[in-house]
């Protein structure tokens, strides 16, 4: 049985990396097109990186209205694990499944480099296997990754322990160095860095493993 649905929007380009990562940890996954009205019985969903609908208007603005977002929202409400990576994070904020927004990077620079993130909370489905304060080297690759929210939302994030990862050296102007957040329950997570591209020391870093292994563990035990 399929366990993880990987949503493919027109313009997604990291879906195969996500599928490889799931295979690496022994979990079945299948691609679900953005027009689908169900998730093929999946227990969890990954919204991968890329440029959904060309990022026209704003990243995630059009993807939010894709039919597949309805079953994604249902799964999220039922407590299923939902992971948005990079463009997937942008889609989750536009869809209102995560608070705040991702703005153009400070200085209008496209950033594409390995970056060090610090685990801020281990409550989320992504960070449950990591240690608080643990530093991980994970690649980033984005133009609109500056996390932005108003003061009320920010205080809620802090109070509810929803800030999941912070950059050690802020690369994009994100508020309070935020690299990833979760919803209050911790089952919906969005992050700009790409843990699925950090699975092998030979290819630069294996630090994404602790995150995705934790994510997969959460599914197996669920």
């Amino acid at each position: 049985m399929t366990r993880v649905a990987i949503v493919v929007f027109p313009g997604s380009n990291c879906e195969h990396d996500a599928a490889l990562a799931m295979r690496e940890f022994g979990v079945e996954s299948s691609f679900v097109f953005h027009t689908a009205t169900d998730l093929d019985g999946a227990d969890a969903v990954i919204l991968p990186g890329g440029f959904a609908h060309g990022d026209y208007l704003r990243p995630g603005a059009l993807a939010r209205f894709s039919p597949v977002m309805e079953p994604v929202a249902r799964l999220a409400a039922e407590g299923g694990a939902v992971l948005g990576i990079c463009n997937g994070f942008q889609v989750l904020t536009e869809a209102g499944l995560l608070p705040g927004a991702l703005q153009k990077n400070r200085g209008l620079t496209f950033v594409s480099e390995p970056t060090t993130v610090v685990v801020a909370s281990t409550r989320s489905v992504l960070t449950r296997g990591a240690a608080p304060g643990q530093e991980l080297v994970i690649p980033i690759n984005h133009f609109s990754g500056a996390y932005t929210c108003d003061d009320d939302v920010y205080h809620q994030l802090v109070e509810n322990d929803q800030i999941v990862l912070r950059y050690r050296d802020n690369p994009n102007g994100s508020r309070d160095d935020v690299a990833g957040i979760s919803n209050v329950a911790g089952n919906v997570v969005g992050l700009m860095p790409h843990p699925e591209r950090a699975l092998s020391a030979l290819l630069g870093s294996a630090d994404g493993r602790v995150l995705l292994e934790g994510f997969v563990d959460a599914l197996v035990r669920a």
Binding site: L57, R58, P99, A101, N105, G107, A146, T148
Partner: protein, 83 residues
């Protein structure tokens, strides 16, 4: 009747505007001095079929808030444009 409507989307005051800031920094280099508080935004032109102007604007308001802008960081204004 079709009403020509302009929707303007701008970043909320207080939200960093890297595009505006970059334009502002570029201006003096081209000899344009004395320009400050540059903010970049978007404008959309639409024809809206509605019974009257108020209905056209209400329709524009709804679609501007739902799709054309992200209310978390942006503010949309709508107006009927003469052209």
């Amino acid at each position: 009747m079709n009403y020509p409507v302009v929707v303007e989307v701008n970043l909320r005051p207080g939200i960093a505007d890297p595009e505006g800031a970059t334009i502002e920094r570029a201006l003096p280099a081209l000899g344009f001095t004395g320009v400050s508080a540059v903010r970049a935004g978007k404008s959309f032109r639409l024809l809206i079929d509605a019974p009257d102007e108020a209905a056209a604007l209400e329709h524009a308001r709804a679609l501007a808030d739902r799709l054309l802008s992200n209310p978390v960081i942006e503010v949309a204004t709508v107006r009927v444009s003469p052209s």
